[in-house]
């Protein structure tokens, strides 16, 4: 099945190109004569031959050896088997036709193709096909548990999980002769095939049976967009119709025997449904001349979405209006408005049907909302050395039918102010600085702050022509008072606790051309995310005698990454090229949960710590044997070291040898 689909996509691409090639002479005969080709003399005495851009490109054939050890985390996007590789780059312009193709095939599940055909400006066809193999993590289920109340079962303990992803993006645009009236078609096909780890719970909190099993994935999605647009004098208008369908094929519902719980009888029930969904949309766009001092653009669209399993529907209206006004080269004003109106249609109850029983359950009304965003920006450019930007944005979110959603406020507003300066204080220095302040009223979620401050500084320095230094620093601070927690027993909305966050990001990069034959780039990237927040844990007293939750005050959470990289390009001889890259990344993360009960025989922090390093090396040597032939050797190595749990330790080594011919 997989092969059939993939070949189908390949066939579409190849047939498209072939058709283009085949019809080319016929269309040429029908078409008018080309404008005279460039005459290479100053006067017009000499008649030039017709313009024909010579076909050029290259193709290669090679073999890639792959070896891996332990976990495939190091080979996350590598198909772990050796295979033949080949590629093609082609550019051909027998005017008025134009063809191009860039293809890279590393394995059956790892490839890239970009192919195009054009005839004058009347036909534009392009197809981009991409395939990638993704090795997925197998989460550990090998714990003792506490039978019979707490049981772990891994039904496929030795399985490797992966997904083969294929995306095909096809676009075709046709233009009317002598007038800018277009019709266009865009089609995106997505496929996922493989085996994923399906984790789920049989039972409930008191009778916990955690299951892991392999689940076949064979999903596809098709999205088609058909549209037309035209220049209509004062304005240009476009109408488009979109239709998308997601098909999970045969593996959309799982069934398992569930124990009795509450009103529910023991029975076989469906779970972890991946529903078939579809959507359709109409959109209309209109804008005035792009070159005016005043430019306006408006969009209206209507999106309808439907779930074919539960029959849920939603309708979304969207509107956009852009306005830009440049009264003077010194000043520019920009206004944007965005409106989104989402209407969810959810039933009040749903019937869960098991093999022998069925039971009705209540359903909370899905969150419908209206969202309006107004943005006003201004630019002041007093000279070539300085440009100042200031902007204000107001976002208003109005949630409807949120009575059942206890923690959700009906409305949330965000005010954003931003100042940015671009300056060139010295001939060889460029600086960009920006500051942003956000104020949130009635934030809905605890990770949304009451206010945030963000500072960003970027500097580019070229002290000498052969050296480029780049510096970037970002600091973001967030504050939140009065967090929201929903206590279950007694049912109560608690507005307690606070949260502070800090995000630091730093990048320094140095690029130097040591000699005409050697260039080097070195960089260091640092990222750290700190948050300190009060957390709540459920507290049990006795049945019918509930209590408020435990509060763990000021729990610190940290993620940190340091990434160092070095890239060298070396041209020892005109026919020999050496490229080498080395990246070393260290990541750390910890959470400081406290012993809130007292005497806990465990540390919550130990379950989710992070300490890992990743070393990536690549080396490529290309030797030109003659004008037409080249040999290339590429080696790649990735070593992943899971220093905390050793579970993801692994390495991968690939070597690719290829021979290339230029034409």
């Amino acid at each position: 099945m997989r092969c059939k689909k993939r070949y189908c996509i390949l066939h579409v691409s190849v047939i498209g190109i072939a058709l283009g090639w085949a019809v080319a002479p016929a269309m040429a005969a029908d078409g008018e004569a080309l404008p005279a080709a460039g005459v290479t003399t100053v006067n017009h005495e000499k008649q030039e031959p017709a313009v024909y851009y010579e076909t050029e490109g290259d193709y290669y054939l090679g073999y890639r050896w792959v070896s891996d050890d332990d976990s495939l985390k190091a080979a996350e996007y590598i198909y772990p088997h050796s295979s033949v590789t080949f590629g093609l780059d082609l550019l051909s312009c027998p005017l008025p036709y134009r063809y191009h193709m860039n293809a890279e095939f590393l394995s059956n599940y790892d490839f890239y193709t970009d192919a195009g055909f054009a005839y004058k400006d009347l036909v534009l066809f392009r197809d981009i096909l991409v395939g990638v193999h993704h090795n997925l993590e197998h989460f550990n289920y090998q714990y003792a548990g506490e039978p019979p109340d707490l049981v772990y079962t891994d039904r496929n303990p030795g399985d490797d999980y992966y997904v083969d992803f294929v995306s095909n993006l096809l676009s075709l645009r046709l233009k009317a002769p002598d007038f800018p009236f277009h019709t266009f078609l865009n089609h995106r096909h997505i496929e996922r095939e493989g085996r994923d780890q399906q984790r789920f719970l049989l039972g409930d909190f008191n009778d916990t049976h955690k299951i892991s099993e392999a689940r076949d994935v064979d999903w596809s999605s098709n999205a088609l967009k058909l549209g037309t647009n035209s220049h209509l004098g004062p304005v240009e208008v476009e109408y488009a119709f979109d239709q998308a369908k997601f098909n999970p094929d045969g593996s959309e519902i799982l069934y398992d025997p569930y124990p009795a719980s509450g009103d529910r009888h023991a029975d076989i029930y469906p779970h972890n449904v991946v529903p078939e969904t579809e959507s359709s949309a109409h959109s209309m766009k209109m804008h005035s001349s792009y070159t005016g001092g005043i430019v306006t653009a408006a969009t209206v669209s209507n999106l309808y979405q439907k779930n074919n399993y539960s029959r849920i529907e939603s309708t979304t209206w969207k509107g956009a209006f852009d306005f830009s006004w440049i009264p003077d080269p010194l000043v520019g004003l920009f206004f944007k408005y965005r409106h989104t109106d989402v209407d969810m249609d959810t039933p009040d109850t749903v019937t869960l049907t098991g093999l022998s029983n069925s039971l009705n359950y209540p359903v909370r009304q899905g969150v419908s909302y209206d969202k309006d965003v107004f943005s006003l920006s201004s630019r002041y450019r007093p000279g070539n050395l300085l440009s100042l930007l200031a902007s204000y944005e107001f976002s208003h979110l109005d949630r409807k039918d949120v009575g059942e959603w206890v923690v959700l406020p009906g409305q949330s507003n965000i005010h954003t102010i931003n100042f940015t300066a671009n300056a060139k204080p010295l001939d060889k220095v460029k600086v960009k600085a920006s500051y942003e302040y956000k104020n949130y009223s009635q934030p809905a979620y605890n990770n949304t702050p009451d206010s945030s401050n963000k500072l960003r500084l970027t500097t580019t320095y070229l002290p000498v022509p052969w050296l480029n230094v780049y510096l970037e620093y970002i600091l973001a601070l967030t504050e939140r008072n009065s967090l929201n927690y929903l206590n279950s027993d007694p049912a109560l909305l608690l507005e307690i606790g606070e949260r502070d966050g800090r995000h630091d990001q730093f990048l320094v990069s140095l690029t130097t051309e040591l000699s005409p034959k050697v260039s080097l780039t070195a960089s260091w990237f640092y990222q750290r995310w700190d948050v300190e927040q009060d957390l709540a844990y459920g507290k049990w007293l006795m049945a019918g005698a509930g209590d408020l939750p435990y509060l763990d005050v000021g729990v610190p959470y940290t993620d940190e990454a340091n990434s160092f990289s070095l890239a060298i390009f070396y041209l020892p001889r005109q026919d020999l090229t050496v490229t080498a890259d080395l990246t070393y990344t260290i990541t750390k993360g910890k959470t400081g949960y406290d012993d809130v009960v007292g005497g806990e025989p465990f540390s919550l922090s130990s379950f989710s710590a992070l300490k890992a390093s990743e070393t990536i090396c690549s080396l490529e040597i290309a030797k030109r044997l003659s004008k037409d032939w080249e040999v290339r050797l590429r080696s790649y190595m990735n070593i992943y070291n899971d220093r905390e749990y050793d579970r993801l330790d692994g390495n991968v080594f690939t070597t690719t040898f290829s021979i290339k011919r230029y034409f």
Partner: protein, 340 residues
């Protein structure tokens, strides 16, 4: 007011607004097509003392430019439009300005004689428009003056978009002499974007990332550098609509929604890269505990739960709540707990 009436009212309003909008825009266009930014017009009109001499007499006359001209002829713009259409004729002087002063004094004999001696005959290019030194807005106007009448809807949100606002012109991304179709290939887009957005490139070096540096996902899969409906120049109208292009199983709508959290995937995921698996903003269970209170951590008798239970409930919440993006089946305990 019912939803239907509400939408009907909106539609009526829209029908009134559209003609008014067309009328307004018509006025704008007819009166002063590009005059409101007169200064920019002066910059891109070229030398007022020069005449247009046609492509044949300028660049094509110098053999070194033959290849440029071939690329140009091969481009979409090279397919010239008929005069009757009212469309602009595109040639070298459309962008570089009139070239008579640049080739003044050059004769066929001089060019050929120099060529025989291996000498390239240079024109006086300083009399042409110095494109590289123009302000970004003027640079973009060079392209927009034609694309504004060519129904180029890629640029629909360009003028109020992030790049235009920050004075990034068309030139850094599109080299019109470089190839037949002026477009940036998906593979090349990464390198191009990262020449300015270097920290985004660095984020892709984190252990959990989309396969962008592997050449299987591209910046343009998620972003439209010409601007769009949503923030961050996203390709689609919202974060979720952008993500579900490739993750359609998360599209929904679902019977049990994760409130409106799932409308913005960025609430939990960092698409460029993360130190945590599955591009998560934070590791579980902290990710979830930020908004939800955790399961009971003590026993009925008052003491702490066992280490095994603590591990079961405080390692990965998604072991049990595995339909966290939305579910169509009620959970065992009833309602939408995303366990089933």
């Amino acid at each position: 007011m019912s939803t239907r009436e509400h939408h009907l009212n909106k539609l009526c309003l829209l029908l009134l607004v559209i003609p008014a909008f067309i009328s307004g825009c018509s006025g704008l266009k007819e009166s002063k097509p590009i005059l409101p930014i007169r200064e920019y017009e002066k910059m891109i009109v070229g030398n007022l003392y020069a005449d247009y001499v046609g492509t044949r007499n300028c660049l094509a006359a110098c053999h070194e430019h033959d290849r440029l001209k071939l690329f140009f002829d091969a481009s979409t713009m090279g397919a010239q439009l008929k005069k009757e259409s009212g469309m602009p004729l595109v040639d070298c002087e459309s962008c570089h300005g009139p070239g008579s002063l640049a080739i003044q004094g050059l004769t066929k004999e001089l060019v050929e004689s120099n060529a025989k001696q291996g000498i390239k005959t240079a024109c006086d290019f300083k009399t042409l428009i110095d494109l590289k030194k123009l302000p970004a807005t003027a640079q973009s106007l060079i392209c927009l003056k034609c694309h504004t009448v060519n129904a180029t809807f890629n640029l629909h949100n360009w003028n109020a978009g992030l790049h235009a606002l920050n004075e990034v012109s068309c030139f850094p991304c599109h080299d019109i002499h470089a190839g037949p179709d002026l477009k940036v290939t998906p593979l090349a887009s990464g390198k191009l974007c990262f020449s300015c957005h270097q920290s985004a490139q660095a984020q892709f070096s984190l252990p959990s990332h989309h396969p962008l540096k592997e050449g299987r996902v591209f910046c343009v899969d998620c972003h439209n550098p010409h601007g769009g409906f949503a923030d961050h120049s996203l390709l689609q109208d919202s974060v979720k609509e952008t993500c579900v292009q490739c993750h359609p199983d998360k599209r929904g709508p679902f019977l049990y929604q994760h409130a409106d959290v799932a409308e913005n995937c960025l609430n939990c995921h960092s698409p460029h890269g993360s130190v945590n698996s599955r591009l998560l903003n934070a590791r579980e269970p902290f990710l979830c505990l930020q908004c939800h209170d955790g399961h009971r951590i003590n026993t009925e008798a008052g003491g702490s739960i066992s280490a095994q239970r603590a591990r079961a409930f405080y390692t990965r919440c998604t072991d049990c709540h595995s339909t966290i993006h939305g579910s169509d089946v009620p959970s065992t305990s009833g309602g939408g707990r995303f366990t089933q």
